[in-house]
């Protein structure tokens, strides 16, 4: 399948923690900061609750990138959920490598409720980076 890279618009699934990143995304909206429409947000209570299965499923279902947004280190609403998320993402990325998926498709970033601009900038940056990577090679085009 030939994809025109010019027209390629990546699909990004974003898991945002209720307390920081989701509120940061809201603030980007309240401040009318524009960012690419490529992200679909799924609100979770804590980044630490994001199961690796969610990330894998998103990638297998055709997402070109997965974004996990949590509170800054030390600021987790639930003490240490963001650290748990970070540890899990490191492990997951090592698995992605082995199945031939670029680990750069999974981003974990800390965005606080006061960082609307940072949220918009991060999504913009991620969209551009995923565009460079091209479409998810396994996704729905897989042949088994």
């Amino acid at each position: 399948m030939v994809i025109n890279m010019e027209e390629f618009e990546p699909k990004i699934v974003g898991f945002l923690c209720n307390w920081c990143s989701y509120a940061g995304a809201d603030l980007a909206g309240t401040s009318r900061i524009q960012y690419p429409p490529n992200i679909r947000v799924i609100k979770v209570m804590c980044s630490g609750s994001v199961d690796s299965v969610y990330i894998m499923r998103a990638l297998l279902e055709g997402a070109d990138g997965v974004f996990i947004g949590g509170c800054h280190p030390g600021d987790c609403h639930y003490l240490d959920g963001n650290y748990k998320a970070r540890r899990k993402s490191v492990l997951l990325k090592s698995i992605l490598d082995t199945i031939g998926l670029e680990k750069e498709r999974v981003w974990i970033r800390w965005v606080s409720a006061s960082e609307g601009q940072k949220f918009a900038d991060t999504i913009k940056e991620m969209t551009e980076e995923i565009k460079k990577l091209g479409p998810n090679p396994i996704s729905k085009h897989w042949n088994i």
Partner: protein
């Protein structure tokens, strides 16, 4: 199949300008689960809410989605609206098509498509939402206050005066805490005892306060509203019920030892009342120093006690209390001067700490308020105060500011000048931090009126002069002039860093609350929940949290008491049911959830050997859900299935 109603809000033009509402309604209407879809200018308005309510009844809806702003704004509004017509409020979901769609995109087509996808993903979630009811837990309407200093007393009084019972536990034999050791207080120079004594007396006599001094918390079990606390009462070897506090026993006791209350500036007997205004005013026998306990002879106190209150056979007792809320007020200590090498490791008698100087200034202190130096009783004519000893000093492990020292040093220097008119006071400081009502004026008064010399710089070394005049040589630097300073002082007062009371860590472990790098107790949120710990039902205040002065401590104590009263004032508490649950058929009892739970809300059932959730402690973070290897952990209304369906919908 669930019959879902979708209500699309225009939000004036906020959404309608960018999102093609007509297209959204048309598209969503085709969804098999959507039984009703309608749009309106302002869904949150009264007519908007009425539309929702009547649709629930007429169209027999069992789930409602409002596609509008962020859930933070109106989730509660709509939950209440649907529950007013009998639909469970957890059958409501918000689709955020304003903050996260119409406001951040300009392209009409793209925003419309995105809005439709957002709503569809929320439909997938709502399809599997369970009807839940709030969890009710009973509340024991009694508070435990740990620590009888000014913060503990203030909180105990606030709660007791609101009509609830309080158990106040204090480690030493009298309440009063650090404040009872102070001479006068900044910035008004009120005598500490004069303003403290009415409070200690009120606590001592309050019908709602059960005062347990010379006691320590031994163990804590249970959770919010339902704690079981074991308190160990140490033996005083005096029957306090009989004792009248006349003090003859102390007078007759032949053993004199250094007094902890006087911070080694004075002495006490082996049977002693720590200070004259003690509450309760009852003596204890220090069995480590008592001649009778060491040799089996003496008994002078027993022979002289007019009412036979001495009881050498008294044993330690354990008291059990059922408690609803716990307030921690364990206070602070000063960093021992022995830990600072450059200032002589505490070996020079005339180098003392701030609290020792308080005792010298105190009218009821060992020198009756006369400033005499410890080594030879001479009145010091040159006195050096050193601020930030240990504080703001990462090398000593305390990069934080102890907050109270700038003010009390100014007070010390000022009171010194009031007592020794021809003396000269020097203060070494890094910065003067005098934020507070009347504080800066107070410092300026010390500098200008009393001619106290403030030198901006650190002291590098303090050592004894070779001569026999007993002078202490203070080497420092004045960074404003760049000159080295050498002062031959008669006495040096070190403003040692305020550190947590040494027992705080152990107590925090018993209470299962966390402490910071320095051992101070952590608050739930540094700004918005400053008097709560992360463990529900446990509150904190005063210097147990961080160094602070008396007004701030009292304010925080009243704040903690008010927060505690929001629990005590109810016989039952309602808890949000969006928490974890366990599928008992799948759980293998591996215990991973116990490890990842930061709130101790998980434990293994003793007989079934599978994991359980303590609904009162669980906060619904979901850590255990993603950690469970067998998918037995369930996050109510955030289940794995719901999230996976949402993922499928948006990819």
């Amino acid at each position: 199949m669930k019959r879902i109603g979708v209500f699309v809000c225009h939000c004036g033009l906020n959404i309608a300008d960018t999102v093609d509402i007509k297209k959204v309604v048309e598209d969503i209407g085709k969804h098999p689960n959507v039984a009703h879809v309608v749009d309106y200018t302002y869904m949150c308005s009264d007519p908007g809410q009425e539309m929702i309510k009547s649709a629930i009844v007429e169209k027999k809806l069992d789930g409602v989605i409002v596609a509008a702003c962020t859930p933070t704004l109106h989730e509660t509004t709509f939950r209440n609206a649907i529950s007013s017509v009998g639909l469970n409020k957890y059958q409501f979901e918000n689709a955020n098509i304003r903050e996260q769609c119409s406001w951040v995109h300009k392209d009409n087509k793209i925003a419309t498509e995105k809005a439709i996808e957002i709503i569809k993903s929320i439909i997938e979630k709502l399809k599997l939402n369970q009807s839940l009811s709030a969890i009710n837990i009973p509340v024991t309407r009694k508070a435990l206050v740990i620590g009888g200093g000014i913060s503990g007393m203030q909180a105990a009084l606030d709660i007791a005066n609101s009509g609830y019972e309080v158990v106040l536990v204090e480690k030493t034999s009298s309440i009063g805490g650090r404040m009872s050791q102070l001479s006068e207080t900044f910035p008004t120079l009120d005598c500490a005892s004069c303003i403290l004594t009415p409070k200690t007396v009120e606590v001592g006599h309050h019908p709602n306060i059960k005062l347990l001094t010379y006691s320590e918390v031994e163990g804590v079990e249970g959770y919010l509203g339902n704690f079981k606390v074991k308190i160990r009462k140490k033996p005083a070897y005096v029957d306090w019920d009989k004792c009248t506090g006349c003090g003859i026993c102390s007078e007759k006791c032949p053993t004199k030892i250094s007094s902890e209350f006087e911070r080694d500036m004075g002495t006490r007997k082996a049977i002693y009342i720590p200070f004259p205004q003690a509450v309760p005013k009852k003596p204890v026998i220090d069995s480590n120093h008592c001649i009778y306990f060491k040799t089996g002879k003496c008994k002078l106190c027993e022979k002289n006690c007019p009412i036979g209150a001495i009881d050498y056979d008294q044993k330690e007792t354990t008291i059990e209390e059922e408690i609803g809320v716990i307030l921690v007020a364990t206070g602070f200590d000063l960093l021992p001067k022995e830990s600072i090498g450059e200032y002589g490791y505490g070996k020079y008698q005339d180098v003392i700490d701030g609290l020792q100087f308080e005792r010298l200034l105190s009218a009821s202190g060992p020198t009756a308020g006369k400033i005499k130096r410890p080594s030879d009783g001479k009145i010091p004519k040159d006195i050096v105060f050193v601020q930030c000893v240990g504080s703001r000093d990462p090398e000593h492990g305390m990069p934080y500011c102890s907050k109270i020292c700038c003010m009390y040093t100014a007070k010390h220097a000022l009171l010194y000048k009031h007592a020794v008119h021809d003396g000269q006071a020097y203060v070494f400081y890094i910065d003067i931090r005098s934020g507070g009502k009347g504080y800066e004026e107070f410092v300026q008064k010390a500098v200008e009126d009393e001619k106290i010399i403030y030198l901006r710089g650190k002291v590098s070394r303090i050592f004894k002069d070779v001569g026999d005049d007993g002078k202490l040589i203070v080497w420092g630097v004045d960074t404003l002039t760049g000159k080295k300073i050498e002062i031959a002082a008669d006495m040096v007062v070190l403003a040692m860093a305020a550190v947590p009371n040494k027992d705080t860590k152990e107590l925090a472990k018993k209470l299962k609350i966390s402490t910071d790098t320095y051992g101070f107790i952590n608050e739930a949120h540094p700004k918005l929940r400053p008097v709560e710990t992360l463990t529900a039902g446990i509150f904190l205040m005063g210097c147990a949290q961080a160094p602070k002065d008396i007004p701030e401590t009292v304010a925080q104590a009243s704040g903690a008491a008010a927060r505690a009263l929001t629990i005590l004032s109810k016989s039952e508490l309602e808890i949000d049911p969006l928490i974890a649950a366990v599928d008992e058929d799948i759980c293998t009892g591996c215990g991973i959830c116990l490890e990842v739970c930061a709130y101790n809300a998980r434990k293994l059932h003793e007989i079934k050997k599978i994991a359980e959730v303590n609904e009162a402690l669980c906060v619904g973070c979901g850590s255990c859900i993603s950690a469970c290897p067998s998918n037995a952990s369930i996050h109510k209304n955030y289940t794995k299935e719901q999230i996976l369906r949402m993922i499928e919908e948006v990819t």
